[in-house]
């Protein structure tokens, strides 16, 4: 089970990071997205400072949404997903490896670059740290929940509309608590509540979604 996990993880990472340039791509992407807002809203530093956490969170959301379709889509089209489903290994483990790889290639780079973005938006050092922490907890949730949506939408059977209706609203609480934690910290309020909520969501997602995704895949592959 560990062997298959390791193989699948390295497969996904190889695919995601065929070249060094690929790894950098998400980083650049976040920076570009973050640069769009000041262009549109204007250069007012105080305004940008308050918007900062929200913007960085939106960049995270967008980066995971943009790459969701490929999480299973490519494997579905070329038949490798079939082979995973009928392999003797537990499907949730394979799924978990794929989701982890997705996070490592889209979520983690974002977490890593977020201090720089925080600096650019003039956030205080401490607020920046809190932002990084929320992203560290929040982005895996995005990957996990996104995987459910991606699996269900594969062949687009059971009403695809339903899925985006399902996944995006699930993202919303993550987004809100994530961005709110930073704001509240800046305002001197307690943020333990936010963090424990985010943590609880992460744990729940970690435990439940691999199974949900596995069954969704079995259904979609018919």
């Amino acid at each position: 089970m560990i062997a298959i996990f390791r193989t699948m993880l390295s497969r996904e990472l190889t695919l995601g990071l065929r070249r060094k340039a690929d790894a950098l791509m998400t980083l650049f992407f976040c920076v570009i997205v973050a640069s769009m807002f000041p262009l549109a809203v204007g250069p007012e530093p105080a305004l940008l400072k308050t918007m900062g956490p929200g913007i960085i969170w939106v960049a995270a959301l967008l980066a995971s949404l943009l790459s969701l379709e490929r999480m299973f889509g490519a494997d579905y089209v070329d038949g490798t997903l079939e082979q995973m489903v009928i392999s003797q290994h537990p499907l949730p483990v394979i799924v978990f490896a794929k989701v982890l790889a997705h996070w490592l290639t889209t979520g983690l780079p974002l977490v890593l670059i977020s201090p720089l973005l925080a600096l650019q938006y003039g956030l205080e050092a401490q607020d920046g740290l809190i932002l990084v922490a929320t992203l560290l907890i929040g982005t895996p949730i995005l990957s996990l929940l996104g995987a459910v949506g991606a699996a269900l939408t594969l062949g687009l059977r059971g009403g695809g509309v339903l899925i985006s209706l399902l996944v995006l609203p699930l993202f919303v609480p993550v987004l809100i608590f994530g961005a709110a934690a930073v704001d509240d910290a800046a305002a001197g309020l307690s943020i333990e509540g936010h963090f424990s909520l985010l943590g609880a969501m992460l744990v729940a997602a970690l435990i439940l979604t691999p199974w949900a995704v596995a069954s969704a895949l079995r259904i979609s592959i018919e």
Partner: protein, 260 residues
């Protein structure tokens, strides 16, 4: 700016015009480029050294900014070059498309890293300069943001080129991107004028110059050095590109044999 671009393009174009038909083939351009490199590299070095000595030691400190203004001698030429090189890239890409000439698309490819480095340099020096003058490394000012965007245009070009395995397809696809992007460069550049901005407007224009004459001349020196450097490095990189793409050609194997 436009004039600068035109000069650069004509200059590089002129070099290539010498016996165009003969040297348009990679095989004959390779040795020619080899011979040309010192003619650009050495003057570049000399001018840069003179410019640096003048800029850093000879010129007096600025009455408002003190010593920190000296960064301008790198900052401004780098900012100019970063824009000009993108246009030059597009120029070569167009030539490559129209005459289907491999060499021109290689020129475009070879220019990209140099442009990106200049662009980064402008950002870096600007940020360093921002701290003493504006009190912060970064503000989301239009000029700064657009410079950042330009950097990403270079990255986009290079990322697309790197993502395509087949060198011919890579050259054609990224060339097309450079052409489309070239429309964007002046738009971005001028769009700044509609924006309220922290950054200084253009103070050196063909007709009038607000700067002290001594300062302007040092800057000009540095700018010329930057051009010469860019040309030399580009030629060097084109040579590598040629070798890589023509590695199966007979003349490359002969070259390798000679080297042995």
């Amino acid at each position: 700016m436009a004039a600068v671009a035109a000069i650069f393009i004509v200059l590089t174009g002129h070099i290539m015009k010498i016996n165009w038909f003969k040297y348009a083939s990679p095989a004959s351009f390779y040795p020619l480029a080899g011979k040309m490199i010192p003619w650009f590299a050495i003057p570049a070095l000399i001018l840069a050294v003179i410019g640096m000595v003048m800029g850093l030691f000879v010129l007096p400190p600025d009455f408002k900014q003190g010593e920190s203004y000296r960064i301008i001698f790198i900052h401004v030429p780098a900012a100019w070059m970063s824009m000009v090189i993108y246009l030059a890239m597009a120029f070569w890409a167009i030539i490559g498309m129209i005459w289907n000439s491999r060499l021109s698309s290689m020129m475009a490819t070879a220019l990209a890293p140099t442009g990106a480095i200049f662009c980064f340099l402008a950002l870096w020096t600007g940020a360093l300069w921002g701290k003493p003058t504006w009190g912060t490394y970064w503000v989301w000012d239009a000029r700064l943001t657009t410079q950042l965007i330009l950097l990403f245009m270079y990255f986009g070009y290079m990322a697309l080129h790197a993502a395509i395995e087949d060198p011919r397809r890579a050259a054609r696809a990224s060339g097309l991107l450079a052409i489309v992007g070239a429309f964007n460069v002046p738009i971005i550049y001028f769009s700044v004028q509609w924006w309220n901005t922290l950054h200084q407007g253009a103070s050196v224009t063909p007709t009038k110059s607000e700067m002290a004459a001594s300062m302007a001349s040092v800057m000009l020196l540095m700018a010329i050095a930057a051009w010469l450097y860019a040309i030399a490095v580009t030629l060097k990189r084109v040579r590598c590109e040629i070798l890589d793409r023509e590695r199966h050609a007979a003349w490359v194997s002969e070259l390798v044999d000679e080297a042995k």
